[in-house]
């Protein structure tokens, strides 16, 4: 029920992302998040709303907490020793840290792609089928259909369609990363988290992934961490700038890159620090 002009919450800042008419329209909402690793506070009172079917980029210097924040949305921090948090994260209005939420279910809805391509040491086919198999699906026809479709979505199918039995680890880095995206897509998530998905890749492979991300936008809500300013500028609708655990500025990517409100953002984007 928030007003049309309302901006997403952020510590001490009022920034303007692309807005929608209804609270329901926020696919993801983070409210007053603190994250601690033992005594060290990695995220400091960050609030931030993300609308559906958009691409949001997290930028900031190394160690500012981008990955930490991203991983909150599929609860991947849960396994880290010493991790603790305050605040709430909602997905489509539901508190994902509520005890009634099954974290395995959540992760099927919120897919994730990592910095370094990490295919399983199995065949290409079995990599993509993995998410379905662990759900107990055994209908081979359905699995095959999903594998092919996901590989097509990830624009990988044409390159490897004759080699679905090949070991995934034998693919090139760029292909591996697209495979990892296909693997995430196979279980039909609605959110896709990507943590520096191209930082280990050459420029050509990176370009392919960027194109792919663009295409996926119509079906998925995508949050992407990147240290590549140009990439953030090219690919995202909204950008959040984090610095030492705090959200400095958040809003329309165009705006952030051309006319940021904070000097810090300005300095970072023009490469004067970080």
């Amino acid at each position: 029920m928030e007003a049309e002009s309302q901006s997403p919450k952020a510590t001490n800042v009022e920034t303007k992302p692309k807005l929608h008419s209804d609270d329901q329209e926020y696919k993801l909402r983070a409210e007053n998040i603190d994250v601690f690793y033992d005594d060290f506070q990695a995220i400091k009172n960050v609030s931030l709303n993300i609308v559906g079917n958009s691409i949001t980029a997290f930028i900031g210097p190394s160690g500012c907490g981008k990955s930490t924040f991203l991983r909150l949305f599929n609860r991947m921090n849960d396994y880290i020793d010493g991790f603790s948090m305050n605040g709430d994260i909602y997905m489509e209005g539901k508190d994902i840290y509520d005890p009634s939420i099954k974290v395995e279910e959540l992760r099927k809805t919120v897919g994730m792609v990592f910095q370094k391509p990490n295919p399983f040491p199995k065949s290409i086919y079995e990599n993509v089928a993995y998410g379905l198999r662990i759900q107990g699906i055994s209908d081979e026809d359905y699995i095959e259909e999903r594998v092919v479709e996901s590989l097509k979505q990830a624009t990988l199918f044409e390159e490897i369609k004759d080699n679905l039995d090949k070991q995934a680890t034998a693919l090139s880095g760029g292909q591996q990363q697209r495979l990892c995206i296909a693997r995430a897509l196979a279980v039909k998530p609605s959110v896709l988290l990507m943590d520096e998905p191209t930082s280990a890749l050459d420029p050509i492979s990176s370009g392919k992934i960027e194109d792919l991300v663009h295409e996926l936008k119509s079906d998925y809500t995508i949050v992407i961490v990147t240290h590549n300013m140009q990439q953030a500028g090219r690919v995202s609708d909204n950008t959040a700038f984090l610095y030492m655990g705090s959200l400095i500025e958040y809003g329309d990517t165009q705006k952030i890159f051309t006319n940021p409100e904070k000097d810090r953002t300005q300095n970072y984007i023009t490469g004067r620090f970080g």
Partner: protein, 285 residues
Amino acid sequence: MNSTESSRLKDKAFRYIGMGTTIACVLILAIFIGFILYQGINRLGWDFLMALPSRFADQSGIYTAWIGTLWVLGLTTLISFPLGVGAGIYLEEYGKDTWLNSFLEINIANLAGVPSVIYGLLGLEAFVRIMKMGNSILAGSLTLALLILPIIIVSTRESIRAVPSSIRDASNALGATKWQTIWNQILPASFGGILTGVILALSRAVGETAPLIVVGALAYVPFAPQGPLDEFTVLPIQIFNWVTRPQHEFVINAAAAIIVLLVITFAMNGIAVYLRNRWQSKMNW
């Protein structure tokens, strides 16, 4: 939803199975040791340690056995320590990346996997018969020394490898010869690790039975050995001898002797672990 439920259930079940299995293993060990203590602890005493073997179980002791064990341990150390450390130094510092080196490496890996009873056959033929040492402490010690040589070599190499190359560079840059660098810098810096490996290897030697039986140490030796060419018995063989007797009193003797053997083995392992920790914390470069 359903599949998530069952996955979670399996997950939970395995957590308990895993914990249960692990604890069960530790528990079995505890039961074993508890049983030994229960059977043998009352038999332990000064008399038991100082008595010669006897046909009466309650007058029988392990004097000859532990003296024999000490002899064998000492002689095995004297033989295997310089040989093993020397071989380790050679492999790590000289002739690296030669075919000889990789051959030696495979060879040592293989020797480490040869069953101990085969070493017994080697000792029987080479030392007892061809070199005519008879069933002596020397023959037994030589056999055990060969048996633990691979362990000592491998741990020596690991310890030497742990010495940072900056130490080697510094010494070389001062005009030290290779051996001067090894003797003055590499060996002192890796000594803790080497010692750990040697003690672990010796603790293995203390418990070895089969190779000594094969070289002929299973005799009734009612007198403590006085020289390396004497016949001997050792604790594990004394235990073996008593275990095979049907009379309960001898089984109790076996249990008591096992306590002594376990104390020695665990103490050696404990010392080794302690040394390793101390060495590792000292060597944080």
